[in-house]
Amino acid sequence: METKNIDKIIELSNELRWQIGDDFHDNLTEAIYADASKIVEKTVVKDNKKGAFYLNAKIDQIVTSKIWGFPIMLLLLGLVLWLTIVGANYPSSMLASLLLDTIHPFLKEGASFLGFPWWLSGFLIDGVYLAVAWVIAVMLPPMAIFFPLFTLLEDFGYLPRVAFNMDALFKKSGAHGKQALTMSMGFGCNAAGVVATRIIDSPRERLIAIITNNFSLCNGRWPTQILLATIFIGAVVPSSYSSFVSLAAVVGIAVLGIFFMFFFSWALSKTVLKGEVSTFNLELPPYRTPLFWKTIYTSLIDRTLIVLWRAIVFAAPAGAVIWLISNVFIGDQSIAVHLIHSLDGFGFLLGLNGVILLAYIVAIPANEIVIPSILMLTVMVTGAVGGAGAGVMFELDSVTATGDILRSGGWTLLTAVNVMLFSLLHNPCSTTIYTIYKETKSTKWTVVATILPIVAGFIITFLVAQIWRIMS
């Protein structure tokens, strides 16, 4: 491209700037506002009586008030979770009985009828198919409830109020107030939360938001929390309180995640990501009645099915891996058993066990398959009844039966608490890691974002285990 000689223009502009003084920007801005107000005067008629603005302001006074702001946030989070937990139960067990109890034996019979060798039908049906079926049965119902509820809140206009409430906290921790929005997205899916950080202009604050997004408990981890809270924590109180106490425990874990998010944002901004907090304007949009069915439809298509598809894509190979390590033997024991034994010592230090650690390694692609992997590996090691054989993931119809299996694998209340903590504090799933790399284009920050939460998880579970054992 030809380069123009603009020296004359620059020279002239310097000269003119000298003449008109420093106020040019203000002059121009004032002129624009003056024009705008003249135009509005001529064309707009306002009736300043109590309109919708008044109602908006009234709602905002309450939901962003110093006293009620946070309780309302917790209450809404609790309500969304409660509806998800309660509502997902029934369709989940229906899907499980269809996919696991009906279709699975049918496929097995078909395979043996067609003369498949045992390893092929095992690999395909007990490995790949069951992993996929489990993920669908366990994930689809809660997602199909959680995402639309979340989207309804979003369309109503509540999210910017969350950002408003938490702005002061973010400022204190050296992060950007818009991180409240990306954090909220992370409750649905961390990969989506990481992408959403694009709304933050400053690269420093955006990195903080990316690295700490994993502390938002994502959709793949909610079922783990809910299940363990129901089995182990709900059980320590009288049954009339148990559902309330387990819900409180799950909300507690989510709040703990927010606490860690603030803590690490603060720590990062005080050390490797030092800098000024940038100011920004966040307009509180008017509350709008969401278009109910349209929201349900788009959130099902755009979020639920996309996230579900991703989980299936990752669960299938994970299922294959589990089946393989449980069925390939070195010496007289399978690879899985070797691995579990070598991880047991470290697991004990953390108040966990080798089975749990191995399950977390296998489940790097998708958090959703942690619990089925743990169950399958536990059954294999303990030889407890009720399982479906080596390397076969399964789901148990009743929560009690799941609890029995876990207890036979040596689980105590401490194990459950630490698994809940570790579920909150461990590496992001592989999709999120890949998304972080795509967004930061930096190996260094991708590694930091991956390692940081797992180190935190090791430290916290270790401390909890030691203190617990000393106290009891």
Binding site: K4, I20, I32, D47, L159, R198, P285, R288
Partner: protein
């Protein structure tokens, strides 16, 4: 090839409005490029979806559109490509979304810019509108969220507004697709030169400043005779915008 005789309905303008083809993401071989600009949270993405038939995720929080989205529609056998720009309050600061929007309006050479505004917050939204009118001579004001304006008991004389701004003004409620056919007709008329815009230029500038702007604008016009927005460039150069100086050097905006 046999062509069927067209009924009165087939040739009627209103039929065509009904018969708009939403082309989704297919943006090949387009006749016109339309930029969609506006303040955050005025419903740009909803307007975008209504025009293209796409389902860009919309949400009630400002800054939701983080990158520009593209889509297309066909009307009276002409193809229009639509670019949904990130929402901005102004084009004069240097944040990333403002640069994406400004660079596209300035260097992307859209046929015309549709500026989506919140009808219940018109005065604040005009800040951006008046800036865009300095840059781009072909623009349409989409007066969106008319339902909310009504709820807030705000009445807008949109014909006078159109006269004041010198561009077509179309009131819409994009969520329920009200006013979208009229918007499409306005886009088509402007793109095909059936309407000529006489965009409002910022008036209330102090005299000595205005003189300086005019001098510099004339100098820029002399060096780049084809430039239509020398006045805006003069504003930016006077503010010492280095990006614009760089663009002047390479002639990127011609």
């Amino acid at each position: 090839m046999k062509t069927a005789t067209k009924s009165a309905c087939d040739t009627c303008v209103h039929y065509d409005v009904e018969g708009v083809k939403r082309l989704g993401v297919d943006t090949t071989n387009v006749d016109f490029v339309i930029a969609l600009a506006g303040n955050p949270n005025t419903g740009k993405s909803t307007v975008f979806n209504a025009l293209t038939g796409l389902r860009q995720h919309t949400g009630n929080w400002p800054g939701k559109t983080v990158t520009r989205a593209e889509g297309a529609f066909e009307y009276q056998h002409q193809k229009y490509k639509l670019i949904d720009l990130p929402g901005t309050y102004s084009l004069m600061s240097r944040s990333e979304d403002e640069e994406v929007a400004r660079n596209f309006i300035l260097f992307g050479k859209p046929t015309l810019t549709v500026i989506v505004v919140d009808a219940s917050r018109l005065e604040r939204n005009l800040n951006l509108v008046l800036q865009i009118l300095e840059i781009s001579s072909n623009a349409i004001l989409c007066l969106n969220l008319m339902d909310e304006a009504k709820k807030n008991k705000i009445t807008i004389d949109y014909r006078s507004l159109s006269r004041e701004l010198g561009i077509p003004v179309v009131p819409t409620i994009a969520r329920s697709k009200e006013g979208i056919p009229e918007l499409i007709t306005a886009i088509s008329d402007l793109a095909n030169g059936k309407i000529i815009c006489k965009p409002h230029k910022i008036k209330s500038i102090p005299k000595h400043v205005e003189e300086a702007v005019q001098k510099l604008s004339a100098a820029i016009k002399k060096e780049y005779p084809n430039v239509s927005n020398s006045r805006w460039l003069a504003f930016r150069v006077l503010e010492g915008d280095t990006h614009i100086l760089e663009a002047l050097k390479t002639g990127a905006f011609i």
